[in-house]
Amino acid sequence: MVFLTRNLFVRRHWHTSQFFGHETPSYDRVWEKRRIYQQAAHYFGRFRNTKLARRYFTRSLTYQTEGRSIRKRVRKELWDTRIEGSCQELDYNAWYMRDALTRAGVYLDRKVLANIALTEPRTFRAVTEIAATKSMDAPEDGGMGMKKCGPGIDVYSKL
């Protein structure tokens, strides 16, 4: 028995013919449209089932491309805000924190500092104390010569 029904049900573009010189396989454009409609399924009204869907979906692609760098910037700003808030509570100016920690040899990044300020507050307090001690050191000792600041806890004797 020869099964032909499967072949007959395959969707082909009407320009294609398997009998002529070379077959010009072009898949049915319905699949390309289907991909677009799938992505635009949550749009409102005519924007999801007419050719406008392609227009507005292209726009969403440009938003995605632009958003990649925006997301990084926004995340960094959020971490900065959180670190600043946590340092303010401990009477330390977070503006000097990065410099002080680098001088002290603590190379934690913004993401980790913001996370430990939430989940590990005691560790964050100790890190702030390290930064504050370094900031209060005289310039000839490698510090920044700032006035008294920071949480004022004893960290260095325990290290």
Partner: protein, 198 residues
């Protein structure tokens, strides 16, 4: 692409392995498979071929799964997969070939039943916080709960403008170096003389 367009929900991992399935013992999660198809219509052709050739093998290899076949006239073919967690999936097999049908059966055979969704994070931890999450009282002294207001704080405060002027004046008076800055007329005016003396 966006997950929203694919109607994907967002979840966070809640366990390392659901009920530890596979660690030790593996329990197949597919409980029941029902295939509804039409005996005559062309849209069920692939399903009919699959039933002729491959379904008995599938049922033999998966004793934990029950396979039901439901011929329904003038209906489009559908696969209904039911899982142990109660989830039901409807998969249309309309106009699909028999190898695609067997592909779908294979997908559902190994599926856990949990709805396919986008992961918010790829990390998971049973104890995200060791020292305890921050709360507004974490960095405060416990004695501050018993403070009575008004309170005289011993915080170092900067001197006010009035105090600074007074300090300046006193230092000038004491050192008498301020006398150099005054002109003769000012010195005369500032001179303190008791009544009667010259």
């Amino acid at each position: 692409m966006t997950s929203r367009g694919l109607m994907l929900s967002k979840t966070f991992i809640s366990q390392n392995a659901l009920m530890n399935n596979g660690i030790g013992r593996y329990v197949p999660q597919l409980a029941r498979v029902t295939i509804k198809f039409c005996k005559e219509h062309g849209s069920s052709q692939g399903v009919r071929r699959y039933i002729e050739e491959e379904i008995v093998d599938f049922a033999r290899k998966n004793p934990a799964t029950v396979v039901y076949l439901k011929p329904r006239r003038h209906r489009s073919p559908v696969l209904v997969a039911e899982f142990l967690n109660g989830q039901t999936y409807y998969q249309s097999l309309h106009m699909l070939g028999s190898d695609t049908v067997s592909g779908f059966m294979e997908i559902y055979r190994g599926h856990s039943g949990v709805v396919y969704s986008e992961q918010g994070k790829y990390t998971y931890s049973d104890h995200p916080s060791i020292q305890g999450y921050w709360n507004p009282t974490t960095n405060k002294e416990p004695a501050s709960a018993l403070y009575k207001f008004p309170r005289h704080t011993s915080l170092p405060q900067e001197p006010t403008a009035t105090e600074m002027l007074q300090q300046l004046f006193n230092s000038q008076q004491n050192s008498d170096g301020g006398a150099e800055h005054f002109s003769q007329g000012e010195k005369d005016r500032l001179e303190t003389r008791k009544q009667g003396e010259s």
